[in-house]
Amino acid sequence: MEAGVNKLPLSLQVTPSADVIWRNLQGESVLLDMKSGVYFGLDAVGTRIWTLLQSQHDLQAVLEELLREYEVSEEKCSRDLVDLVNAMAEKGLVQTAAH
């Protein structure tokens, strides 16, 4: 899968940082990176992605699960997923590694 306009390709392993705790608030969530003290909010879809990443680190597999659950084009879903993972990686909330 190509990287497209975003930095991260889908052929990545994405692992939530062990320093991050999070709380689900009626379908949305807030994350706290205990190392940096930074908070990060996730809407409902972001929360679902974060939840999937707790047990599934293969980004392609996460995309496939999202496509099963949501009525959305693969292009948009892929772009939104990579954007979110990008943003979380920049803040140190996830680590990424090549497959």
Partner: protein, 331 residues
């Protein structure tokens, strides 16, 4: 190990402050008197006496971002004797030493500093630090009683928390606390603890409430803030009350004299709360504990965003709007 004694002072007084029994060795006029008993916190207010803590090994733990004109940080904090004590020193003289358990406090200040100046820290930011050290969840907020329930008004400095609390007091809704809301969980409720018998107001707030900046005396000669002593019978609530709603005070942009109030989705509510906790430089385990407590609060207590009118002369309308909103969301 040095264990500086709690020397007796002119009096031994007992107070109830944020649900803690505080024993002090002199009168503290803004604290609520209570019956003698085993104290939770002992306060040794020493003044310009020899300071035994100066002999202890120290390492700097925190310094405030802001400094005075000479470049001295407004607040510096050191760990003493490997963490057995913390030393808080404010730029204009008052110092506080607190033990690891946050049960004993000693305060020293130079001769040229009045006790009223010390009180602006003791019944202010220092007590907030003390409560944080004791693991209590704090909000940068004021709270008033509406019947048998409390509402909290949250916001950064200048948002209007104290002014709104004063407006409620003048409308016969007693004040629980100003600037620091201490919440303790009890059987699924969040109880707001009563604090000091006063509000501290900027001159323009006094003018909006009373018609003149000179209507209230200054807290201390060297500071602009004014001292509103709360009438214990009518304007101060001495019971811990369950928190019924939290109002986040936003920018004063509403065209409506009573302001506008809208529900806060839980995620936004929690993000607002974590930005408005009282002592923001906590160690990570304490920050995690605070985060947990605030997440539970958000899941149980309604949050509201408030957009006040720009004019501070519409305070009564703002208070009425909050009361009406509270009545609409709680049985």
């Amino acid at each position: 190990m040095v264990h500086p004694p709690l020397r007796p002072g002119p009096e031994t007084c007992f107070y109830s402050v944020f649900g803690l029994r505080v024993r002090a060795n002199r009168r503290v006029g803004v604290f609520l008197p209570t019956a003698p008993g085993q104290p939770d916190v002992s306060l040794c207010l020493e003044g310009a006496c020899a300071n035994p803590f100066n002999k202890l090994k120290r390492e700097e733990w925190h310094r405030s971002f802001y400094s005075d004109e000479s470049g001295q940080p407004l607040l510096q904090v050191w760990k003493l004797a490997g963490g057995e004590y913390l030393h808080f020193r404010y730029y204009d003289g008052p110092e506080f030493f607190v033990d690891r358990a946050a049960e004993s406090v000693w305060s020293f200040w130079p001769e040229q500093v009045d006790f009223d100046d010390v009180l602006t820290y003791l019944a202010g930011p220092f007590f907030g630090y003390l409560l944080s050290l004791r693991g209590v969840t704090l909000l940068h907020a004021s709270a008033v009683a509406v019947g048998d329930r409390a509402i909290a008004m949250v916001g950064p400095q200048g948002a209007g928390k104290s002014t709104a609390a004063a407006a409620f007091a003048l409308a016969n809704y007693p004040v629980l606390t100003d600037d620091i809301v201490c919440v303790r969980e009890h059987h699924g409720e969040f109880l707001v603890q009563p604090a000091y018998l006063r509000l501290c107001l900027w001159p323009d707030s006094v003018e909006a409430l009373y018609g003149s900046q000179e209507a209230l005396p200054r807290l201390t000669p060297g500071w602009e803030k004014r001292d509103l002593k709360l009438d214990r019978e009518r304007q101060f609530e001495d019971r811990a009350l369950p928190l019924a709603a939290v109002y986040i005070l936003g920018e004063r942009l509403s065209a409506n004299p009573g302001g506008e109030i809208s529900p806060l989705p839980p995620r936004e509510f929690l993000m607002d709360l974590v930005q408005n906790t009282y002592a923001n430089h906590l160690p990570s385990h304490a920050q995690a504990r605070e985060f947990d407590a605030l997440a539970r609060l958000v899941n149980r207590v309604p949050g509201r965003r408030v957009t006040p009118h720009p004019s501070c002369h519409n305070l009564r309308g703002l208070c009425s709007s909050m009361i009406e909103d509270l009545e609409s969301i709680t049985p």
